[in-house]
Subunit: 234 residues, 2 copies
């Protein structure tokens, strides 16, 4: 089967927010949040069991989803998508606020947040699919919602290993034509025979003006925050 | 709660294809198809129990999903989203082809088709959520996948009444900024004080060059195919 069929499915990108241990704020990035019934307004979201967020949703029965904006800082995806709350403080940049029920949501870089109460779950092997009723929400900006296609095509990102859409062979994202308001610079670089440096953690393809070799040693991946040494030539 | 929070969730649009009675080809439009695990590749789709497609999926255990392209004929959405296979022949335009397993898929107007085998289901009141393993698929064009945001903002369509995202109050779609490559003509018409004619079945807002009153009597809604008489002034 042609693996490009996967690219015909459209998704948004969301930061789930949960109450962590000892008042900490937890969360992770997902692309599988969907409304499944209108009356009542019930949504489904698929979360990998290995994500700490999964057990915290089970424990609390409440979570938020902040819909990422196209103009968000890609570092948000790095922090919430490629690092565990076991190792880092997810509110290290002060981007989170608390809902009336005390759940964290992303106040900067999202279009809206939605608050959910879990009403069921289905075990799907690697993932739990939560069914949750929308109980609260707020519009936070008029930005365009970030789609997974935009993330892959324009931001050159890829899926974390625990995502439902992760495929180890997905080295070249989005072969099908996708909505791309700017011509991706990395493709131009490829055409000119310039070396392409790719982040081995998140798949980000460096496409800056300064040659990669000349970047300062303390430069870090704008998506997941790892150092230069974690990049390799594609 | 501000109902605009719903617009921060991104979806694609898909035609589900099923084997109908006596060799007929059935199907409907959904926006709630998403991958929920990577290994194995299992997807979920929410289908209203009142749709004939729902009972046919249960009966056969197999279905296809054709990912609609942004440049598809909007009449496809009308035929599959606003008419029942009990009343019309879903292959009346010859747009369907058969997969190796004999299931219909949309050969014109879609980016790819995916074929699924049902592996579970969850009853959610008005809808059944099917879990299904991807067993086959084919890329059909390099067009951009149609998103629900584009359908609402540019094509001025709305949800069928049986859709999970249907809201009876949704008279003005997409208040949040959405990716819209062309300035929607209907908005310009609204600014100039021109009357807006809206389809009472599918919500399509007429925005043609010819004044609505001067359209020929046999003119039909380009989204759902109903006659002029089914339009009203907004």
């Amino acid at each position: 089967m042609d693996a490009r069929v996967y690219h015909s499915i459209s998704y948004g990108l969301y930061v789930l927010g949960v109450k962590g241990e000892n008042g900490a704020m937890g969360g992770c990035v997902v692309n599988t949040l969907f409304q499944i019934t209108a009356t009542p307004p019930v949504f489904a979201v698929s979360v990998n069991k290995e994500n700490q967020t999964c057990s915290l949703i089970q424990k609390e029965g409440l979570f938020t989803a902040s819909a990422l904006a196209q103009d968000c800082d890609p570092g948000i995806i790095g922090l919430f998508g490629f690092h565990s709350g076991r190792d880092v403080d997810k509110n290290q940049n002060g981007d989170l606020a608390l809902s009336p029920n005390g759940l964290p949501y992303l106040k900067n870089g999202s279009c809206a947040y939605l608050e959910f109460a879990v009403c069921g779950q289905q075990d799907l092997g690697t993932h739990l699919l939560f069914f949750a009723r929308l109980i609260n929400g707020e519009v936070l900006s008029s930005s365009t919602p970030l789609t997974y296609a935009y993330y892959q095509t324009v931001l050159k990102g890829k899926s974390p290993k625990l995502a439902p859409t992760y495929r180890p062979d997905a080295t070249t994202p989005a072969p099908a034509k996708q909505p791309a308001p700017e011509a991706p610079k990395a493709e131009a670089a490829q055409d000119s025979g310039k070396k392409q440096y790719v982040c081995t953690i998140c798949g980000y393809v460096y496409d800056g003006e300064i040659p990669f070799e000349e970047l300062p040693e303390d430069w870090t991946c704008p998506i997941c925050g790892v150092p230069k040494s974690m990049f390799e030539v594609k």
